[in-house]
Symmetry: C2
Subunit: 221 residues, 2 copies
DNA sequence: ACAAAAGTGTTCGATCTACACCCATGC
DNA sequence: GCATGGGTGTAGATCGAACACTTTTGT
């Protein structure tokens, strides 16, 4: 049970890591996690372990990534880890223990076991889902301006994102809802930004068919 | 370790199931699988167990689905299953043991544990990937006509698929390669069908960005 | 007035669906 | 010839990227 908890910090995503206090891999940074209990499923387990590092109320989305089971991924005894992706909105700044810190994904410290690779898988999943789901709700504050959302998408994706097109794409899909309110301009002036909200806070696929759509007169089987 | 092995039979996908000979759930149909060995990873394990039911050489693609770990998904002791999707081309008809049979997914018999639900997850994964990857290579014979491929896609997706558009979409993406040969017409006549091949036999995402493409002058991070 | 930030209008290209039409074969 | 199955041409719709231009604020 391991969790890749990501949060956009500045222009880059960061991942939550804690410093191992003992062997193996003493002093290296590791993903939060722990063993599966007898009366819980894997998602309940990862949430239980995560609660030791971060306020669970701040984790806006959790989903399963993949199982890592290479017999040589760590020293004996062999461990099978089910990895999860967790997302924390950029405005939340949960209290975390002393041994725990956020690390930019473009400058990871030496990590324990295969946790660097698992982090990469989590980041790839986030990037993919930004394109065809409403997963942005888990990165953004409850209310936000388009330029702020643009910053979050650009940081997560690692490339430039146009505010113009982002707004249009997400609006057309019914993902964004205007609140009717505006933000105060900064000290340098500028037009006040309209504020938006995500229409849903649970994951939904918004662009299901890249191609091979069913015919207009449909009817699923 | 469980495998949802699918194969297109006629106009519907079928899944490989075997009949349990003892309690619990004696007589019900179950997915092939078994326990994880100490010196193998999960994929090697599922392949090892699968080899008891079907010739592995006939399984054209294997990928991880998800972990099923509800403490009440079966009687005690609690079991955690990592489910896989396996695909067998439609022209292969591997020998299978007496206790094993293909079952149409639209008319599943009573299944053991949560195996019906797991089958549904596997089918959904196949359907999704048909749209944005070249995964069709694992359903089709090595060489095939467009109308044959159309039949396979329509069966897997559960809705009508146009041969015209299928050919154009897959050709544009560089997924299909013409062999230059043609098939003999049937007894009723008709123009001989051109035969095609998949350009690759490993999974590749062919339509990566539904939206939010990186800018033209790109550069990944 | 001017700079800064946000938002809108519009063009262009890519891509996919739909449908009419043309081609090759057997009887 | 004509029915049958296969293949191509093309128009229409949708969608998203790019970019110019307008709107609203602060100094």
């Amino acid at each position: 049970m391991l969790a890749v908890v990501l949060r956009i910090t500045g222009t880059v995503p960061s991942v939550l890591l804690w410093r191992r206090a003992r062997e193996p891999h003493e002093g290296r940074w590791a993903l939060p996690g722990g063993r599966l209990g007898a009366t819980e499923d894997v998602e309940a387990s990862v949430r239980r372990h995560l609660a030791e590092k971060v306020d669970l109320a701040e984790v806006a989305h959790v989903e399963q990534l993949s199982v890592f089971s290479d017999p040589h991924r760590g020293p004996a005894p062999r461990r099978v880890a089910t990895a999860f992706l967790g997302l924390v909105p950029s405005d939340a700044d949960p209290a975390i223990p002393d041994d725990t810190a956020w690390h930019r994904v473009d400058a990871l410290p030496p990590t324990a076991f295969d946790h660097g690779e698992i982090t990469r898988v989590g980041l790839d999943r986030l990037r993919a889902k930004l394109s065809y789901t409403n997963i942005g709700f888990a990165l953004a504050p409850d209310v936000f301006s388009i330029s702020e959302l643009r910053r979050l998408y650009a940081a997560a994706l690692g490339h430039h994102v146009s505010a113009t097109n982002l707004q249009r794409v997400l609006t057309r899909r019914g993902v964004l809802v205007p609140t009717g309110t505006t933000a105060a301009p900064g000290p340098a002036g500028g037009r006040p930004a309209a504020l938006f909200r995500f229409s849903e806070h649970t994951l939904r696929v918004t662009d299901p068919f890249a191609a091979l759509r069913p015919p207009s007169g449909a009817g699923a089987v």
